[in-house]
Structures are given as C-alpha cells and as structure tokens.
Point group: C2
C-alpha cells in the first residue's frame, strides 16, 4: 500500500519533470540541479560561478531550503533573479515546485538556471526535476567515504565537485579512496576539485559549465 502510493507520487513527479525538461529544452535553458550535504558549499559554488561567468550570461537561481531565505538573499544582493522555495519540512525539491518557481520568475532564453536543492545527500536523488544536469558537491571535511555510503547520489551525478580543497592539509582525506568510491558507481562524471574560499579550480569548472551550456 505504502509502496504503491510512493510509486504514484514518483509517476506524477516524472510527468511534471518531463514537462519542465521540454520547457528548458525549448528555451535553451541549462537547468542544473545542485545536490549536497548541508554546508558543503552549494550557494558558494553558485556565487563563485556568477562571479566568474558574469551576469550577462543570464543566470537565474532557485533556492530550496526547509526554512529561511538566507541563501536567496545572498543571490539577490548580486541582482540575479532568484526564487526561494521553503519546503517547510520536506527533505527535497520536486518537479512541481520547480514548475511553479519558473512560472514565477524571469528565466531568459539560452541561460543557466541553478536549482539549489535542500541540503541532503539522500532524498533529492529520487526526484527528477526535469534538470539538464545533476551536480553533486562533496566537500573535504565531510570525508572521503561519502560515495560508499550515499551511493545513489554519486551514481546519478553528471558532474561532481570536491569543494573546500584548501582544508586538505588539516584533514585526513584519502583522495584515492574517494575517487575509487566514485568510479565504482559512476565511470563518466568529471570531478572538479575546487575551493570557493581561495578560488582554486573555479575557473576550470566554470569553463566546463559554459561549454556545456553552449552545446545545450
């Protein structure tokens, strides 16, 4: 009974996600679903990319959080269109929320839309939003064992960032084990090592993202 209803919810979500995907494709919008643990640097990555890529690319942002508008306020300060979704307890965004948010904001054609999911390495991986790309961010202080424990998140990623590499000297982080864990699940996703604090690696990731957007 419970399983059947869960399946219905997922079916309904997939239908709306397909509509979102068609909308994004028609408007040549590259929608990036950003998923990570709390505090791994989702908003910092968005801010850094905006800084590097410039506003003229036409970036817009959807911020997902259980409560607060802390992240949306940071984006808004830069004059970037942003909508905050508060799930009020919900542990992930879903396609319906994205549909409503996109109707509510000016998303330019041929632009990038960042969708910052709720900070959670589990539930967001089950809900298709209609995104073009799934970006999973891990961070050095979380430790190298995350791919072994949160398998579906790393399995489904189109691109992976390892953030906070500036903290590497202060943490026992086994880089080989981290990559081995990822490659056991996901052979293809490129991994970018960056530090939003020092700016290291941000340009490489931004260049990759821009080239993806141009092809989309």
């Amino acid at each position: 009974m419970e399983i059947k209803i869960m399946k219905n919810i997922l079916d309904a979500n997939d239908k709306l996600a397909a509509e979102n995907r068609e909308f994004f494709s028609k408007k040549k919008i590259m929608a990036v679903n950003i998923m990570a643990s709390p505090g791994s640097g989702k908003t910092s990555v968005i801010l850094k990319v905006i800084e590097n890529i410039g506003k003229e690319t036409g970036i817009s942002v959807i911020e997902g959080d259980i409560a607060s508008s802390i992240d949306a306020d940071k984006i808004d300060t830069l004059g970037i269109p942003v909508v905050q979704i508060n799930t009020g307890g919900g542990c992930h965004l879903d396609a319906n929320m994205i549909k409503a948010a996109v109707e509510d904001m000016p998303v330019r054609e041929s632009s990038i839309l960042f969708i910052e999911n709720v900070g959670n390495l589990v539930c967001p991986s089950s809900f298709d939003l209609g995104e073009s790309l799934k970006l999973v961010i891990a961070s050095v202080p979380e430790g190298h064992d995350k791919p072994y424990k949160y398998t579906s998140m790393f399995e489904g990623a189109d691109v992976i960032i390892l953030n906070k590499v500036d903290l590497m000297p202060y943490i026992d982080f086994d880089r080989d084990s981290f990559y081995k864990g990822i490659r056991a699940l996901n052979e293809k996703a490129p991994v970018f090592e960056i530090s939003c604090r020092t700016g290291d690696g941000v340009k490489e990731f931004t260049d990759w993202l821009r080239s993806k957007a141009e092809k989309s």
Copy 2:
C-alpha cells in the same frame, strides 16, 4: 490520502518507540540517538567517548547507513558490540529497526547505547526511536547558519555538539550567529564545542554524558 498514510506510519512508529523506551528504562540503558549531516563526525564522537569512558561502562552501538559497514567496522575493531543497519535508500532509522537490532545484540543493563542515525539533518528528526536523549552534532565547516535552515533538528535536541572546532581558524564561522540561531529554537540544550581530531572538549562532553547515564 497521502497525509493520512503518513500519519498512520508515524502512529505505528510511536507505538514501537514507546515499547523501546520502556525496555530501555527497565534495563537502565541510556539510548542516545545521534543525528547530524553526513561527515559531521558522528562515528568519531562515538569512538572518542569510548576512548574516554572505557569499555567497562558497557557501551554498545547501532550504526545506521544507507549502504556500507564502514562505521560498524571501526566500532567492531574496539571489541564493542555493534549492529549495522543498512536502510537501502531510507533516509532515517525508525523504531522498528531499533527494536530488531536490540533483540539481535547483547546490550548490558545500566549501559549506554549509541544509535548513529543516517547522515541527514532533515528526516531523522520526525521519527522517535524511543531514545533517552537526542544528540545533534553540527560541525564548524558546515557553517554557522545550520540552525536557521534545519530548524526541527535543533529544536528537538537534548544536547548539541559543535565538532571540528580545530578548523575554526580556517573558516568564516560566526559563533554568535550559531548560538543565536540555536537559542531562538531551543533554550535548554547544552552545547559542547569539541574537536575529535585534537581531543579538545571531549572530556567535558563525556563527563556530562556519564552523569546523565548515572541518573537514568
């Protein structure tokens, strides 16, 4: 429909949680439900407490993870009774899992049982396990804004640890904002600042925990 079924699930969980609570109380077991983001140091805290308190106190551990037995293996190496629960995608432990695990392992009378929940600052806060204490761990690299975003987790905590304080010099962590966020939700829970890496603050937390266990 969906809401009603969710309510039924929670009611069923609460019933089993009450049974667990009675069992723990009868056996004078202090069950500590440890909740935190992935990589904030749940297992490290357990290992440090074991190191400080000594095995003779009769500690046992339940490890919750979506996949892998990495954490249980670390506990097992110390000769501490441990059961690994793999939720296989589930984003939290529930009372039924704890009931089954406790039946499966030797938990001594007048002892401490650590229950390490799935790494997730959202879902575990909705499921009573029958625990005696809810311990929420935040860590410095996650940032000071977590209490503002993951409100129910901090609201329900009986005790809070701020881990990885050794990283404070390398991170923009606003301690005042962190405490202000907690106290807006939770007036009573003591907060212990510790570093599992350097050992700072571990003794103070362990002493507090031991005095709680003696009273329970």
